[in-house]
């Protein structure tokens, strides 16, 4: 195992830790701005894992869409109603812990049993095309309908969002 491999492994662990601790920060902190920060760190970690999975394109798209668009929109949503350092959910914290912890334990048990019992088929040894060209061909040929549907969904969402925020205020 060369030094380069050890370095790559270390980078991989760093990305895994970023993902998990970013997620934990996102759900455990009380200041909402830190929540978005934790989510951004988690998304960055996932982007790094995508790179290790052999798709630089997906990694860049993850950074562009999640970090560049979604997190900015979420920060904007927070700044509408809260001051940046305001503590949200004060006084109702811990109310749902009795529900949340059993839900997590049930998820862990279910996933653990599913992953443990499955026998994964061996990796096909044939030449496989991970390239961006293949993604483009798939997106426009075989999965063209899904591509169109997601475009229409985005369009509807944009129009719906504009309608929701520009509807006239109720005079009551």
């Amino acid at each position: 195992m060369s030094w380069a491999d050890i370095f790559l492994e270390a980078v991989f662990y760093i990305f895994v830790l970023l993902t998990v601790f970013g997620g934990l920060l996102a759900v455990r902190t009380q200041i909402l701005m830190y929540t978005v920060l934790g989510a951004a760190v988690a998304f960055l970690g996932v982007a790094g894992l995508f790179m290790f999975l052999g798709s630089l394109f997906l990694s860049m798209m993850q950074i562009l869409i999640y970090l560049g668009a979604i997190c900015i929109v979420l920060v904007f949503g927070i700044m509408v109603g809260y001051t940046p350092r305001q503590v949200a959910e004060q006084g109702i914290r811990g109310q749902n812990l009795l529900l949340a912890v059993p839900a997590c334990i049930a998820s862990i048990v279910l996933l653990r049993s599913a992953v443990g019992r499955t026998i994964w088929p061996p990796v096909p040894t044939a030449e496989r095309d991970f390239s961006l060209d293949a993604v483009g061909v798939h997106l426009l040929e075989k999965y063209g309908l899904a591509f169109e549907l997601i475009s229409v969904l985005l369009l509807i969402a944009i129009i719906g969002a504009i309608i929701v925020v520009t509807v006239k205020e109720d005079p009551r």
């Binding site: 909402l32 998304f43 894992l49 999640y66 979420l74 949503g77 809260y82 109702i92 949340a100 992953v115």
Partner: protein
């Protein structure tokens, strides 16, 4: 090497899912729940990519699916934040506690029961629901 093992990625994706479920159940603010849902979607995308890399016969399919998941996540965020804006315009706050207090003191505009049948002045009944 852990970075070349399918189960590592499955465990990380499962952790993201579990963290997201915890957040969705435990959080009581709109933004917090929205972010937790995003974490769940990120975990799903990671799972797709892991299966794509290790056991799928056609390795571009998982990337296509992950791209579609990203699009859906962006859609969900746009709709959620627009709802938050609408709630803010109506109630001038998005703090769940204050919204709850507003509801209890019936200041939030919900009419009392004995107002009689509500007939909108223009249009058919049910038009105001849109």
């Amino acid at each position: 090497m852990l970075s070349q093992d399918l189960k590592t990625y499955l465990v990380v994706a499962a952790l993201l899912l579990i963290i997201g479920v915890y957040g969705v159940v435990q959080r009581r603010s709109f933004i917090g729940m929205l972010i937790s849902a995003e974490l769940i979607l990120a975990g799903a995308g990671l799972n797709f990519m892991a299966f794509n890399r290790f056991i799928a016969p056609e390795p571009a399919v998982g990337q296509v699916f992950t791209l579609i998941i990203m699009g859906i996540a962006a859609t969900e965020t746009a709709i959620g934040v627009s709802f938050i804006l609408a709630v803010y315009r109506q109630f001038k706050t998005i703090d769940p506690i204050q919204l709850n207090e507003l509801q209890e003191s019936s200041l939030c505009g919900i009419p009392e029961v004995d107002d009689g049948p509500v007939v909108p002045s223009g249009g058919k009944p049910g038009d105001q629901d849109i």
